[in-house]
């Protein structure tokens, strides 16, 4: 049985009167990619930030069960931004120094080994995202939390980002990723958790989700997040 590295139990989060997350339980196993999908405002980023311990849950708990590590979890924000005036190599060196890692190797792992001297202001959107992934890998954290790593990227760069995500899980990392790119999620994820209005409406393998409608993943996704009543019923059933 695959070892679980990160576990969230009965996670609930409210912002004033708004319930962003309502009793979500989730496991992130080693050597796998867990994708969080759902419409805008469904609670994906809230869940990811809670799992990353960047946000406290109103109720519930997050436990790290992976191996001892200098940095147990690496995090890529939705829109990574870096301090201007520094090159890619200097930026990587700053984060690497915090965990005694090799910045050159970090850049090479994400394919930025050829542009170490380029200022971060001169990096394209995709390269900035790759530098963000390099940062998230510093210290070789067993768990990686990536918030929409392919958002706003062209198809080639998106595929490249998800290739890296797959390679990370092949290396034994536990990866949890949010995304709107269903074809790429379908290809890279071992398990897909569908969120709607702060609740899990389905959690299955890509094949399992596809079989629900017999069509592409998009059809299942649309059916799952379509109506209020359906969502409520499925929320109780999939908890």
């Amino acid at each position: 049985m695959t070892e679980t590295y990160l576990r969230g139990t009965d996670l609930r989060r409210t912002f004033g009167d708004v319930t962003a997350l309502a009793g979500v339980s989730i496991e992130i196993p080693a050597g796998s990619v867990v994708a969080l999908v759902g419409p805008n405002g469904s609670g994906k980023t809230t869940l990811l930030r809670i799992l990353s311990r960047l946000l406290s849950p109103t109720d519930g708990s997050v436990t790290y069960e992976g191996p001892p590590a200098v940095r147990p979890l690496g995090y890529l924000p939705q829109a990574p931004a870096f301090r201007p005036g520094f090159t890619a190599a200097e930026t990587a060196a700053f984060y690497a120094r915090l965990v005694d890692d090799d910045p050159t190797e970090l850049l090479e792992r994400v394919g930025l080994g050829g542009v170490p001297d380029r200022p971060v202001e001169g990096l394209s959107g995709g390269m900035t995202r790759l530098l963000g992934i390099a940062q998230s890998l510093a210290g070789d954290p067993p768990v990686l939390a990536l918030d929409e790593p392919a958002s706003g990227l062209d198809p080639t760069m998106s595929r490249r980002v998800f290739d890296i995500v797959e390679a990370l899980s092949d290396d034994g990392h536990a990866v949890v990723v949010t995304s709107h790119d269903l074809p790429l999620v379908e290809r890279a994820a071992d398990r897909i958790v569908v969120l709607d209005r702060g609740a899990v409406v389905a959690a299955d393998t890509p094949e399992g989700l596809r079989e629900r409608t017999g069509g592409p993943l998009y059809e299942t996704f649309t059916a799952l997040v379509d109506t209020d009543d359906e969502v409520a019923t499925r929320t109780e059933a999939t908890r």
Partner: protein, 272 residues
Amino acid sequence: MTGGFDAFWAVFAREVRGAVRSRTALLLTFVTTLVVLGLARAGSGPSAGYVPTVVDVLLVVEVLVPAVAFAVGYRAIADEAVRGTLDVLATYPLSPWTYVLGVYAGRAVVLLVVVLSPLAILGSLVAVSAGPATTVFAAHRGVDSPLLFVRFGALTAAFALSTLAMAVAVSALADSRRRAILLALAGLLVVVVGADLSVVRALTGGVGIELDTLVALSPASAYRGLVFETVLSVAYAERSGFVSVSAAVVSLVAWGLCSVVVASLAVRARRA
């Protein structure tokens, strides 16, 4: 495994390197130098000696130093929060205290260069333009000395470091660049006039504290009082009694330390 000092040094080095590459520090140094030298020249202090020069520039330095300190520090942490860097750093073995100290120390180096460079130039100007009486070390009251000017520089540095800590605290409390600007302006007003007004108000209300101690509670008054007590006092036959020296020193240190603590707690509060 990396240690706390390595993490501190990484943050510190990044701050210094960032400032060296930015033109802001250079511009601030240039403007500060122009203002200080222009003022001293207008007052003819340099040709009269070190103490007259301090008298010429003290009032403006008292306002200029906090302004420069806030300019150097008000975005130090706010920018990192806006960029999402604080979230990212929360996943590293970097405590809020280490991070804030690294940021503060890095900006402090920059600020000291901005503030002390004009004073060093001014001191050199006095050395070449004042009479021979200014070159001796003061052993008794009434004697001018370069040592007094060095003391003025040291006190100005202490005042600058104290107000920089306040600027960094304000920066840590801001959640946007716009709010950072507003909080910085408010903080500057508090340092330059607000605290003094509070002291005056307390005096009129009769709080039962000695005047020289009460005056020391405001950072600007504490600085001003220390300059009067330890630099300009040579011009007075009797002890001036403007401020309690020990209370003023404690005040500047306390404002600085409390501000660093506030900044660290604010950074910690952003984490889960």
